[in-house]
Symmetry: C2
Subunit: 343 residues, 2 copies
């Protein structure tokens, strides 16, 4: 993007802007019969189930543009919705994107945002088929709806976990939360002395986890190849503990997870200590990791046992046994779901 | 709603609020396999086409809460999306609703908004299957996605209008725009002297058109019974002239419409004059009527001829003949698309 160039949105108008965006879109999915340009997008018939999920990102609540590049933000807005599609064990096919833009945003800024959106659309092999663009009096608003497909025998609900199932988590946890602490600290340093340059080079992994999360479609495709259907699944967006509570409630079960099995990256661990945060609390209650939490029947364990990025963190118990964390010293303490409460 | 009661959203938390809303929802559509409560909603397989549309309403841009009852607003947020589904000649089946709420809103206010949303869901026989609720720093944000179904032989795109087709418009036009002028004037009167009571009783029809529009699903069902498939269709949300431009562009045709055929309600006409507005300009360029504009093959004219609420306003011409309004005096003047530009 040419940083020097600034075209006011008003010069193109709403329709001009949509036309501009429209030009960049090429439909890839056979089921996308009509994308942007009519009153609604049109999807072909399907003998599979379709899943639908929606998420809204608001400036000042979900992101801070002082340290969030617009391209990353566009990618993230799609990724967090794809993560919900993945959590149903489904494959994403289409998205719609609605934008509220204040006059602070130029055409070039909108194009940068769409660069990230289109990058994500290609990465996840889905089509941008519609949306709505409007002016906003209050910063940037991004509302995305994602649609995906899944066979009736393959879908994973939150409610399918059964006693003795194995609890699995992908990737590592807590990084996005600790990365956010770094970004917020560097912002404060910059605000108090604008001559200070933010020091983010020391924390590339965790700041990347916060700014540009990747939905775990790779895992979904691998599970499908191995013919493993999780008995239950969620994405980890509000924090591991909170998600475990959701699965236990929906499935009518309890859970035991083991502190020494929880996956944490070294940079997350070290930086948490630097911030005087308990690394395990960051793993349990940090949000926005967008990893997958799922349960499998024990018969499927052999198929996943050697997977480098799936961790077996515990097992499903009877509802009466509660939800416990077994510490390294071997004592069982009740799990607390703190999650992310926006209110 | 008990006006005295005010429960802060914080006391319930995000999940408490969603649970509260969830309790009121009963799924009616056979294709809604799973609604609110998992990572995504789940729709059953379908041998029909599915249409998807999304629209975002922002406080201060699309609505003014000083004269918009929350219940009406909830209804309208659904209706404007259903109108886009109708414009494809499709039947709506599901919606998702994402809300951004500032702490100015109480649980009771959110419930009132959902009363309108649920009323619309029942009125249009569709299911609320998902959404996202978050805090907002800047007023109320409502993002709705609607899904509908239509057979392959029944769908109407903007691009199907052919020379000699008849141009049809439903209901009457301009009312929502003139109603908005009344609401804005009464607001100014109230702001300058709060002892003055707003005088809206004189204008019940047009203020209703603005505050509580109804998508024309009745027309879609009637067309289906008569086996009339419009060659092209749009909903009239930005203004008749602007929508005619869209259809002409997408279909590669021109159009001639007749001033004396344009449908206008007496209250719209009289009030426009009261505001020194040209009634015909209000009909052509006033927005938010949410009526349907469509074209039919001449062979279908006999089937619709006697319909009390479908007006035959002109005919499709060759692209080279341009887009013209034939005035009462018989002269052809070029149509101008002013539409509603949010930027």
């Amino acid at each position: 993007m040419d940083k020097e160039k600034r075209t006011e949105i008003g010069t193109l108008g709403e329709f001009g802007l949509i036309d501009q965006i429209n030009k960049q879109v090429q439909l890839k999915q056979a089921s996308s019969l009509k994308g942007i340009g009519d009153d609604a997008a049109v999807l072909g018939p399907s003998d599979k189930l379709r899943v639908v999920t929606t998420d809204m990102l608001l400036e000042g609540v979900h992101f801070d543009l002082s340290y969030t590049p617009l391209k990353h933000l566009g990618f993230k807005a799609i990724a967090v919705n794809v993560s919900d599609v993945a959590a149903m064990n489904a494959i994403p096919t289409q998205v719609t994107v609605s934008l509220g833009l204040s006059n602070r945003f130029s055409v070039e800024a909108v194009e940068e945002l769409y660069e990230g959106i289109n990058l994500a659309a290609n990465h996840y092999n889905l089509d941008l088929v519609g949306g709505d663009t409007t002016s906003s009096r209050a910063g940037l608003i991004i509302a995305v709806t994602a649609i995906g497909e899944v066979g009736e025998e393959e879908i994973s609900y939150r409610s399918g976990a059964r006693q003795n199932d194995i609890v699995c988590a992908t990737g590592d946890l807590g990084g996005a939360f600790v990365g956010l602490q770094v970004l917020e600290r560097e912002k404060q340093v910059f605000l108090s002395d604008p001559k200070m340059q933010p020091q983010l080079d020391k924390y590339p992994y965790i700041t990347g986890r916060q700014l540009r999360p990747d939905a775990r479609m790779d895992i979904i495709h691998e599970l499908r190849e191995l013919k493993v259907v999780p008995t239950s699944m969620m994405d980890i967006s509000d924090g591991l503990a909170s998600e475990l509570f959701h699965i236990c409630k929906a499935s009518g079960v309890g859970v035991a997870i083991y502190e020494d099995k929880l996956p944490i990256d070294k940079q997350t661990y070290d930086t948490a200590l630097e911030f005087n945060l308990d690394p395990i609390t960051c793993v349990l209650n940090g949000g926005e990791d967008y990893e997958l939490l799922f349960t499998i029947n024990q018969k499927d364990f052999k198929l996943l046992e050697k997977h480098p990025d799936i961790h077996f963190i515990g097992h499903v118990t009877a509802a009466g046994d509660g939800k416990v964390l077994v510490t390294k010293s071997g004592s069982a303490v009740p799990l607390k779901a703190q999650g992310w409460q926006h209110f």
